[in-house]
Symmetry: C2
Subunit: 391 residues, 2 copies
């Protein structure tokens, strides 16, 4: 799969008119540049440079003790080991490749395109200082965004497998949800499922899964509590797994009937159906060429038109090796998202769609689905939740 | 333990005359600043600032959806959530705290002090631009180095537990090593031990453990191969585990007798004893106040005086949450180590000592021990290997 992604990189470099992509790292087990997972798949100790050119040249420059390991991967046509300093061999390779643009891994907007630490940036610029290369540095965030976003068939298969297993787990936990159980007990049931399946959480184990029951719950990004499920609660679960290095990220919503109720109250149904329909509308608009904010705005405006507050987050994010992956985001034009809302949607990207409504006195209604962008539209990878689950 | 490390931080800030330490992160599950493990212990999604002052003020500024989770930790006296942009609340807090120096997480020399990405650095400097705070930025690497290096009793206990379990595993694998077994089989035995104990590798699972047998082996930082153990081989294993978030990192050396041999040949014994004695000499010199290069030089010069080539790496590194941890390093004054060789050894630091000798025609003799620096000297945390193990 890494070989496949390196080939894809070369095509992306050509498409974007960038000669050379330079990934500059050290001690990659500690502060880890996530681009390495696509172009190396192991770790290095000393300052190392991985260079891929639009012409298809591939050069790895590594500390001498890492040389055998890197060479054994067979990914780089040239593997050069050094002992005392990377500076001279690095300048030597750059002179030979003679790039007009050198893309490096920093980005103001995209966390995953921003794997180069500031100290490493300063070191690199020190090495290049006084050479023509210092003027040729650009951000690689477009390259990294494309590489992470445009999933290969093999990557897509892994995501589908993760989704399928997660939905199985959702269907089993559904039978476990009942009045008197706590958020922690319900989360514990899913933790046990993870253990049995031998897979890990897609994000911070402290709040994966998140379980929120009732009107007093945190509603997002918080761990499960001792709060008990009661009649009249909306309960939602945000859960994802990592299977074979690729993630799922899904949310489902339940309603717990009160004594005497035979169906959820009208305001709960209105919110749930609003969410469901907002997802439908967003999915219809999600296709190559649109900008992320447009899709977010559709869902956001629709829910506001129903009388709900704006949800305080993006409508959706990409998934991949991380639950939050890729560059483009389906998000509003808020400062904190920088230029990400203006990124164009591309074929092969996998997005979540996850609007939310707070229903006063009941809880938070959310659904999170996953779609892949195809040639002219998008397709659901998770069969959408169309009815609220009633307990 | 995090509360304990935050208290320690306040003392370190006072000692170093720095008003404020600012850790600036986003999507901390993906590109993870390792300082967060000491001051937070969970993850955040949006741009977030964790501020600790020499006066003991603690302020966390996080995206609104992360607020509940961060507040629930009880680590920060003030937790402030924001929705659209962190800029104004951040400048508000800085005005109130009014620091003269603001330490941020970048370092040219120390990978673990360099958790701030370049894009995040640019964002931060953009926010501070036009305010007096832009001129007050300094590197936090001294603070982070002290915080990671000076182990609390609880941290030391965890390292001791990891070492003990690793030595148990070494003693069991010793009975498994015999002619005809491959490096991969021997590594597989230790992988099985990890699984049984429910612990993980201390570094990249591809080469933890490393097993090297005979004169043709890679010798360091490479995965095990199908090479078979034979009479006349020196065999060494480099192995570490992570137990309760803290690591071990140890090496042991065996010699495989040839038919008719009753003990290792003289050149093998000379190298093994040379390594053992180099460790002894280095440990005698390792005490608070000496600079790392001095300790490295002692071992390095001793082995050169016996006729061996200089080992192509540092004599030792600190361990902690990572196998390679802390700032100060027992290393030569080579470019690639920057200013690290000149860092002074401090009480409470835990170092490996791991010189090596190549013995032509036999393999690589190495031992790696772990010591803790005490008031006036250092103490071995691993009972040293004093005799080569003979198979």
């Amino acid at each position: 799969m890494i070989q496949e992604k390196i080939h894809q990189t070369i095509a992306i470099l050509k498409e974007k008119g960038v000669d050379l992509w330079l990934t500059f790292v050290r001690e990659s087990d500690t502060v880890h540049d996530p681009s390495l997972d696509f172009i190396l798949g192991t770790s290095v100790t000393w300052q190392s440079a991985f260079m891929i050119s639009a012409k298809g040249e591939t050069v790895a420059l590594v500390g001498s003790l890492d040389e055998t390991n890197i060479r054994s991967r067979g990914l780089y046509a040239e593997v050069i080991g050094y002992v005392e300093s990377i500076k001279d061999p690095l300048l030597g390779v750059l002179k030979r490749l003679n790039p007009q643009k050198i893309a490096i891994n920093y980005s103001l907007d995209s966390p995953l395109g921003d794997g180069l630490t500031h100290g490493m940036y300063e070191l690199l610029m020190g090495y290049l200082s006084g050479t023509p290369f210092a003027e040729k540095i650009i951000s690689a965030d477009g390259i990294i965004g494309a590489l992470r976003g445009r999933k290969s068939p093999a990557e897509l298969d892994r995501i589908k497998a993760a989704i399928k297993l997660t939905l199985d787990m959702f269907s089993r936990v559904s039978g476990f949800i009942q009045p008197g159980r706590t958020e922690k007990e319900i989360a514990g049931f899913l933790k046990e499922e993870l253990k049995k399946a031998g897979v890990t959480e897609a994000w911070d184990p402290d709040y994966c899964p998140s379980v929120f029951t009732g009107p007093e719950s945190a509603g997002a990004h918080a761990g499960p509590t001792d709060r008990k499920v009661e009649g009249g609660h909306i309960l939602n679960i945000d859960f994802g797994i990592k299977l074979n290095d690729y993630c799922s990220d899904l949310q489902r919503t339940w309603y717990i009937l009160r004594d005497g109720e035979s169906e959820p109250p009208a305001e709960v149904m209105k919110a749930f159906n609003g969410i469901r329909d907002a997802i439908e509308r967003a999915a219809e608009a999600l296709k190559p060429g649109v900008e992320g904010w447009m899709v977010d705005k559709l869902a956001r405006d629709y829910l506001v038109s129903l009388g709900y507050e704006e949800y305080p987050h993006a409508l959706g994010h990409q998934i991949g090796r991380f639950a939050h992956d890729g560059k483009g985001l389906l998000c509003p034009k808020w400062d904190r998202y920088g230029k990400l809302p203006f990124d164009k949607v591309e074929e092969g990207q996998v997005y979540t769609i996850e609007p939310r409504c707070t229903v006063k006195g009941y809880g938070v209604a959310t659904i999170e689905e996953i779609v892949v962008v195809t040639g002219e539209r998008c397709e659901f990878l998770s069969p959408p939740q169309t009815e609220i689950y009633v307990v």
